[in-house]
């Protein structure tokens, strides 16, 4: 029963992780930029939700209505001001630039909001079914993840701009011939990526305390998931998230709790060696 409970829990967390990674993979797919500041945008969203809650009493779930568009705008500003200039530069340049952005965001948050951890006390009743208990907040997070994944799926499959994003990801030169402006698609993808990160931040506020420099943990998590799933593959990101979520939780049954985080990385290294482009990635190197 415990195992079943852990699997359910892992699935729920995995969905959220997967959505977190979706933002990263979208950006990679379109412009081949690994956004090291991804996790810092999560923290930006989390702090926005925190203050909305503390100052205006806005429920964190409601505050997504603010953090998502805010993240979208922020992403577009960051893209136009900075990232745009390294899209065609060697990989290392974009890594380095986004690292700089990450440092800048986290240190600004640190300066403005002090290093104290912040948390919100909002709880949802837990869900019981078939002898399995799922914490309410986790269930809400999973529900959020399902909604975002669904919305994103609808966006990517039903709208012109969503299809354009997929088209650029798959074959940017062909996309150009369709009349798609790759620059506009990059901007859009970056905006959506940051919007996702920032709305994940709102949900994270339901689950744990955050602090200004905590972004790197989310970036790392998203990295692992994205590579596990295959860079640039949205479905792979969700799958990777679920794998990591379940493995993380189930492994704690059999391993010392403090050692479980190693499992994700070890799986990743093995996957990379056996299948260099990730579970869902294209074949070849």
């Amino acid at each position: 029963m415990l195992l079943a409970e852990l699997v359910v829990l892992g699935l729920a967390y995995g969905l959220l992780f997967g959505v977190l990674a979706l933002g990263l993979t979208l950006i990679w797919g379109v412009m081949k930029v690994v956004n090291i500041a991804h996790g810092d945008f999560v923290i930006v969203g989390a702090y926005s939700s925190y203050w909305l809650f503390v100052l205006a009493g806005v429920h964190p779930i409601l505050s997504i209505l603010f953090t998502a568009p805010f993240g979208f705008g922020l992403g577009i500003i960051v893209y136009l001001g900075l990232v745009r200039r390294v899209v065609h530069a060697p990989e290392l340049m974009s890594l380095f630039l986004t690292f700089g952005i990450s440092t800048l965001i986290s240190s600004l948050l640190l300066y403005i909001y002090s290093p104290n951890q912040r948390a919100i006390s909002v709880t949802f009743p837990s869900i019981n079914g078939l002898g399995v208990v799922l914490p309410g907040n986790v269930a809400i997070a999973a529900a959020y993840a399902v909604v975002v994944a669904t919305l994103l799926r609808i966006f990517l499959t039903k709208t012109y701009w969503g299809k354009a994003i997929r088209a650029v990801t798959e074959d940017s030169s062909s996309a150009l011939l369709m009349g798609i402006n790759p620059e506009a698609v990059s901007m859009l993808a970056f905006g959506i990526g940051v919007a996702i990160a920032s709305s994940v931040g709102s949900v994270v506020m339901l689950l744990q305390a955050v602090y200004p420099t905590g972004g790197s943990e989310f970036t790392l998590l998203a990295f692992v998931i994205v590579v596990l799933g295959g860079l640039g593959s949205p479905f792979g990101a969700l799958l990777g998230g679920i794998v990591i979520g379940v493995v993380d939780n189930v492994a704690s049954l059999y391993l010392p709790a403090a050692a479980t985080p190693a499992i994700g990385f070890i799986i990743l290294v093995i996957v990379l060696i056996v299948r260099p482009s990730g579970i869902m990635g294209a074949k070849g190197r």
Binding site: Y160, A167, E170, D171, L176, L177, G179
Partner: protein, 238 residues
């Protein structure tokens, strides 16, 4: 009716420091089907890609509908009615047939006539309608080529450029594709065709250009080509 739709004058293109096209001038009149012949590596694909704006020419001028489009980005060229069906088809393999067609109509102008164009493409290629929910990558080679052409048509072009539509197709399929091209020409679409398959393309073309080593080596009607040794020399050296 000899109103020029596409005019390319003295086009020169480099890949990095490597000159690929030296001095290309050609004209395609409205309603014409012109074929650009030449052996591999002669610069045919480069010509099309520079006309479309994917490659930036070093010098020269491209005019479409009397408008200078030399410096226009490729996506904007598509939007004003000149569409390129690339070599190797360039389909979005993981997307469905219908999605590929929708992307073909990405520009605002094309989106307005989406329904109309979609039904005429389905009419032209009934097989695509049958397979509309299937992933483009799962189609056969011939079906893929039809999808590529259909997708090109979805941008509601005044002129279509096709790069090696017969590549990798069985002869029977090649002839099907060329029948379609002939039909499109009959409907008044202007076509610039790049093709290795000389016989087949001369059979449907109004005029042709022979590209050899980055230069126009010969120009003429299909009959003039057949009467001339230049083709054989360009292709086989002897």
């Amino acid at each position: 009716m000899t109103e020029p739709l596409l005019e390319v004058s003295r086009l020169a293109v480099n890949y990095g420091a490597v000159p690929v096209l030296w001095d290309i001038s050609l004209t395609v009149n409205r309603g014409e089907l012109v074929v650009l012949l030449g052996s591999n590596g002669a610069g045919k694909t480069t010509s099309l890609r520079s006309v479309q704006g994917v490659l930036k020419p070093k010098s020269g001028k491209v005019a479409f509908n009397s408008k200078d489009i030399t410096a226009l980005a490729a996506n904007k060229v598509t939007a004003i009615g000149l569409s390129l069906v690339p070599e190797g088809r360039g389909l979005f393999a993981t997307m469905t047939v219908e999605e590929n067609l929708q992307l073909g109509a990405f520009s605002k102008r094309a989106r307005k006539r989406f329904g109309e164009n979609l039904s005429s493409v389905y009419e032209l290629f009934p097989i695509l309608k049958e397979r509309k929910g299937q992933r483009a990558g799962s189609l056969s080679g011939g079906e893929q080529q039809m999808l590529a052409i259909g997708r090109g048509l979805m941008s509601d072009p005044e002129m279509l450029m096709l790069d090696e539509p017969s590549l990798g197709l069985a002869p029977i399929v090649v002839s099907k594709v060329f029948k379609v091209l002939e039909g499109l020409k009959d409907r008044g679409l202007t076509i610039l065709l790049v093709e290795q398959n000389v016989e087949v393309s001369l059979a449907i073309a109004d005029r042709g250009y022979l590209l050899e080593n980055g230069k126009i080596a010969f120009e003429g009607t299909p009959d003039q080509f057949r009467a001339n040794e230049s083709l054989r020399e360009a292709y086989l050296g002897l």
